[in-house]
Symmetry: C2
Subunit: 128 residues, 2 copies
Amino acid sequence: MTHQREVILEELKRLRTHPTADELYEIVKKRLPRISLATVYRNLEQLSAAGIIQKLDFVGRQMRYDGDISKHSHIRCVECGSVADVRINPIQGIDQAVIDACGYKVLDYHLDFLGLCPICLLKKHRDN
Amino acid sequence: MTHQREVILEELKRLRTHPTADELYEIVKKRLPRISLATVYRNLEQLSAAGIIQKLDFVGRQMRYDGDISKHSHIRCVECGSVADVRINPIQGIDQAVIDACGYKVLDYHLDFLGLCPICLLKKHRDN
DNA sequence: TCTTAATTAAGAATTTTTCTCAAGTCAAGA
DNA sequence: TCTTGACTTGAGAAAAATTCTTAATTAAGA
Ligand SMILES: [Mn+2]
Ligand SMILES: [Mn+2]
Ligand SMILES: [Zn+2]
Ligand SMILES: [Zn+2]
């Protein structure tokens, strides 16, 4: 475990914001001003391959990373772009329903949401 | 409605494969050899903004497009990469569960799967 | 038919991510 | 202590996907 990897992991675990690689790069740079973006990508890749962090490819074209590896969903606000964790119970009997519907065996699934955060919801109400 | 847009739409609707922009470009090129890739991107963007087709950003960093705009899920085979439609019933009471869990109002959700297609499943069994 | 607003092809540019490579680090063994 | 080898780094080049720019063409309506 190199110092760079340690700092990257530490900062990601501290954040609740699901940062992109370059957002995290900007944060890590405050502690390691000489670090390169490629090192951040390299270590995020390694850490997620090792199961120590999660790579999220649910929102658009840019990867996001999550220091919380527990199984959970995410919701993104369509107004302000904020991303929040959503902890809901696993869906019952989904594997069998999928087999019945298309013949594929389910290994994993992602349930992700689009919506309005409490703040943007309030703004909408006030505007109407 | 230009001829290019018509052909792009027609070919996408014909396909059941959820092609990427450049896969569709290769197909459309057979009918319109002078078309450019940017035209394909531009029209896919327009058609999906108009709600005539769907843009799928569920798998990795490359967009895929679907001529079928009915609400349905997808499953991707982790072995061969094939993508299939999955028609399952909407999840009951999910909006309330999400509000309770994080305070966001749900506008839409995506439930997508990773798994093994029947062919790759069979291969696995034979290998063991 | 004439006008104009939209669209095109081609290639340049952008954005995000990965790759290459020479140099640096460090632990184990001679 | 010196050498070796495995691993990692920073820097920049390269790759992959998508969007933008431009002058020319086309569609659609008066
Ligand atoms: Mn999370
Ligand atoms: Mn589909
Ligand atoms: Zn919001
Ligand atoms: Zn397969």
